[in-house]
């Protein structure tokens, strides 16, 4: 048996006008968890597609168990036992778990073409049991949580007897506890001899799970390191190619008087009795596990989703908000979690995206004023440093971080007092995160009140003045940020006995 179950040597891949990979190496030992890290666009995705046979490398060779192999199609890779689980589970929600697991490789009677459901069901039960799944194979896929769906995807990979399992950002949509379950499952698979390629933006994932890590940057191979003993600064430096001295920019905003307050906000089945306030120039982090109700609370403040009870005060005056139009008119803006679906018209150019939320300000007697639109778009893309070749470029051509900046630009066309940012750095790379933090500080300094929903603990602690923790739809704690630690926040987010700590006077 070879030292490596999979080895990639001198792999290069060209696309028209861009070299996606240049001389990349990758070595996967049997039964190891190997992380691949890099910023967006570093080439992780292309590398995975080469391993799974979707792309053919233009240069270099692939060795499987020491033997050179050539994948003509994904099927070839699959036959060797290479399977992948993706971040966005691509399942068939109306089919059962059982059907999803065996879709495409059902065993059937050669004569009648009847599928051996009973046999498959037994197989599925064994598989799911080995993954500690708490649902039955006959459950419909759509009724499962994302974490459970991922387990099905893993079961699907195992059902074809995978020797190499590629997990692409599996933890991104999961809460912390679900992540722990996934870690356990992954380790279980490794102990059974499966080699795992683990891709994640989260550095914690890598430290928790991986034995070795390969870092890519701009399509280049940087290094492969053993994870134990690896300094985080070295890893980040490898990914971004520069020393990040100040991951979170320092903050200078003067915090003023209370600008916004919510009292007793409730919606049956989602959240109950939520009260907190935001001051001028203050960043309040709303944190908790995914699914705790943070987004629902903010969408209700913004008028997108309803509420049963609760009073909102803006600058001391009670206001009524039932639609997003009213929220914007009062000066409350919202950067939604899903920038592609909720934030942007991807097919539109930057200008029209920027003015979308405040068309009234750019028209006279109902007629649009394109020159005014262009002026504000130029001004805002410049001040927010949106990287684009062209303000008539489509929003879809921007990178994730720049799309977020574009949405911020859109918010700034309205006269706002309070800005709600829902996971502003989700899915953007390290460099762009810093940029977004800088913008948040800039906004705070200009006197906006900011509510930031975030699941990333360092971000919550590094970027906020105050932290409100939501657990299962209720406020479980509020901290002044200097008093908070990852442990206290986590305790408040995860346990029923989270201390109602250090409530500070509004």
């Amino acid at each position: 048996m070879a030292d490596y179950i999979l080895e990639l040597r001198h792999i290069s891949k060209f696309f028209p006008g861009v070299q996606a990979l240049k001389d990349v190496h990758f070595q996967l030992k049997p039964a190891e968890i190997h992380a691949i890290m890099g910023e967006n666009g570093a080439g992780k995705s292309t590398l995975i597609k080469i391993i799974t046979g979707v792309y053919h490398p233009d240069e270099g060779e692939i060795l499987f168990n020491g033997q050179p192999v050539h994948f003509r199609s994904p099927l070839d890779a699959q036959r060797l036992g290479i399977a992948a689980v993706y971040q966005h589970v691509a399942c068939f929600p109306d089919l059962s778990v059982l059907e999803n697991i065996f879709l495409g490789h059902e065993s059937f009677d050669s004569l009648t073409r009847k599928i051996h459901w009973r046999e498959l069901r037994k197989k599925a039960e064994v598989l799911l049991q080995s993954l500690d799944a708490d649902f039955s194979p006959s459950a419909s896929m759509g009724s499962l949580s994302i974490a459970q769906q991922q387990i099905v995807e893993i079961a699907k990979a195992l059902s074809v007897d995978a020797k190499i399992l590629i997990m692409d950002e599996p933890t991104a949509p999961l809460s912390r506890r679900e992540c722990e379950d996934l870690y356990r499952i992954t380790e279980g698979l490794r102990d059974k001899g499966v080699s795992i390629i683990f891709i994640s933006h989260r550095i914690e994932d890598m430290y928790r799970l991986a034995e070795r890590v390969t870092v890519l940057r701009d399509g280049h191979y940087i290094a492969t390191w053993d994870v134990p003993g690896l300094e985080q600064a070295r890893l980040v430096q490898g990914m971004v190619g520069r020393e990040i001295t100040q991951y979170f920019p320092s903050r200078h905003a003067a915090i003023g008087e209370e600008i916004f307050r919510v009292e007793g906000l409730s919606r049956t089945g989602f959240f109950k009795d939520i009260s907190f306030s935001v001051r001028r120039g203050e960043i309040v982090a709303l944190t908790g596990l995914v699914g705790a109700g943070r987004t629902e609370i903010c969408e209700s403040l913004y008028g997108i989703s309803p509420r049963d009870a609760g009073r909102l005060f803006l600058e001391g005056k009670e206001i009524a908000i039932h639609t997003s139009a009213e929220a914007l008119a009062h000066g409350i803006g919202y950067l939604p979690e899903d920038r592609m679906k909720q934030g942007l018209v991807l097919d539109w150019d930057l200008i029209r995206n920027i003015t979308l939320a405040s068309l009234k300000n750019f028209c006279r007697n109902g007629f649009m004023q394109p020159s005014q639109e262009k002026d504000i778009a130029l001004r805002l893309t410049d001040s927010l440093k949106v990287k684009t070749a062209h303000i008539y470029a489509k929003a879809s051509t921007l990178s994730g971080g720049n799309q977020q900046k574009l949405i911020v630009a859109k918010l700034l066309t309205s006269k706002l007092k309070l800005i709600i940012l829902d996971e502003p750095t989700k899915g953007v790379d390290v460099g762009a995160k810093t940029e977004i933090y800088r913008i948040m500080n800039q906004l705070a300094e200009e006197g906006y009140g900011i509510i930031m929903i975030s699941s990333e603990m360092p971000e919550v602690i590094g970027m906020s003045d105050r932290i409100v923790v939501i657990r299962e739809g209720r406020k479980s704690a509020e901290f002044a940020t200097p008093d908070a630690t990852q442990e206290t926040i986590l305790e408040a987010a995860m346990t029923a006995h989270g201390r109602e700590a250090h409530a500070i006077a509004g």
Binding site: E39, N40, G41, A42, K44, I48, T52, V54, P74, L75, A77, Q78, I82, A83, A84, Y86, H88, A90, A157, D168, Y302, I304, S324, A325, A327, M340, K341, Q342, G343, V345, D347, W348, L356, S358, L359, K360, C363, G366, F367, M368, K374, D382, K385, K387, T388, A389, H390, I391, Y392, K394, S396, T397, L398, S399, G401, N402, S414, V428, D429, G431
Partner: protein, 352 residues
């Protein structure tokens, strides 16, 4: 990033008008063929008066363009035309003065449009197609209940001026249509309302998060569709001199066909009104030419069908580069177990 690095000039070029140019070429070709068929064809008079044969229907194409840009389909407009026409005739015959009957017709048609829009807002889970399919049968059904299988008419003689009259050398209906087309073009391409129509058609969710009252847009466009159906009804009734409950049959399909042939994508959010305007005249003159040769109307349908397939293919073809963007490729069309990974990353070439 330095200011100079951002290109601030709007990209221009004929390539974005490719489809319109193609339609114009087709239109010219149709006219060349027609002029060979009839020696009297190529005169200004024919050219100006031929549209009288098809322009009544064309009023439906204007709002249909907006509806399809919104990503919807309205199949009830033909029935609105019939109901309005019948109500106008019956109320005139019952003693209502003709001008008032005409105003009534427009009110009724706009109300029908309002009903369509209201149902779409109230029952968001239903598609506009299904809703208008039901109102289509209801509206036409009411027309049948009112008039059964009789016809109604005996309008005052001046009423025929709408369809048959000339102002100077130009048909009245052509003037009205050109004005209506200009109004619609201006609304769609230069106003806030028009911008919002494109926005809702491109990404309704993002509109709702951007404080746009999407319901109002849908309601407004539906009412415009009703109003224009009223105009069609006036001109059609005037042209025929009497009305029956089965008038304007399949008008909605013709309007949809002309709109789609004009390059308006049924996915919503894309296309300009110039395309449908050209295709109105293209199909109208094609039909006229076939009439010169006594070719049956079914042949026109076949030709139209081919053109539609072509337009959809071309749209699909020109849309293809766009499909590289992540949101479009996320549809799990041919996922294999090893995964064709095309949907895994928000992987952009610029990458920060």
């Amino acid at each position: 990033m330095e200011k100079t690095a951002i290109d601030i000039n709007k990209p221009r070029g004929l390539h974005q008008y490719q489809w319109e140019i193609f339609l114009v070429v087709l239109f010219l070709a149709v006219n060349v063929v027609n002029s060979f068929l009839s020696p009297y064809y190529l005169t200004l008079d024919t050219f100006v008066s031929t549209p009288m044969n098809f322009l009544d229907k064309a009023f439906l194409v204007l709002p249909m363009t907006m509806i399809i840009i919104l990503g919807n389909i309205d199949v009830s407009v033909g029935s609105i035309v019939a109901l309005t026409s019948v109500l106008m005739a019956v109320s005139y015959n019952a003693g209502l003065p003709m001008p008032l009957a005409m105003v009534l017709a427009l009110l009724v048609s706009t109300t029908c449009g309002f009903i369509n829009g209201f149902l779409q807002i109230k029952f968001k889970e239903l598609s506009a197609t299904i809703i208008t399919l039901s109102t289509m049968t209801v509206f036409r059904g009411i027309a049948y209940v009112i008039l059964e299988d009789r016809s109604a008419g005996k309008f005052p003689s001046w009423f025929s001026f709408l369809a048959w009259g000339y102002l100077g050398k130009i048909p009245f209906i052509l003037i009205v249509f050109v004005l209506a087309a200009i109004v619609f073009a201006v609304i769609l391409h230069t106003t806030r309302f028009g911008r919002m129509i494109y926005a809702v058609g491109s990404n309704r969710t993002a509109c709702e998060y951007s404080g746009i009252r999407t319901d109002r847009i849908i309601l407004g466009v539906s009412m415009l569709a009703g109003l224009m159906a009223g105009f069609t009804s006036l001109f059609l009734t005037s042209r025929m001199g009497s009305t029956r409950p089965n008038v304007a049959l399949n008008y909605e399909l013709d309007a949809i066909a002309m709109t789609v042939l004009g390059g308006i994508s049924t996915n919503g959010g894309k296309g300009r009104i110039t395309g449908p305007l050209i295709s109105i005249f293209l199909i109208g003159f094609l039909n006229y030419g076939l009439g010169l040769r006594n070719v049956s109307a079914q042949v026109l349908l076949i030709i139209l069908g081919f053109l539609l397939v072509l337009s959809v293919l071309v749209q699909n073809f020109t849309d293809r580069p766009r499909q590289k963007s992540p949101q479009k490729s996320s549809a799990p069309t041919r996922r294999s177990d090893a995964g064709d990974g095309s949907d895994i990353h928000e992987n952009s070439a610029q990458g920060g």
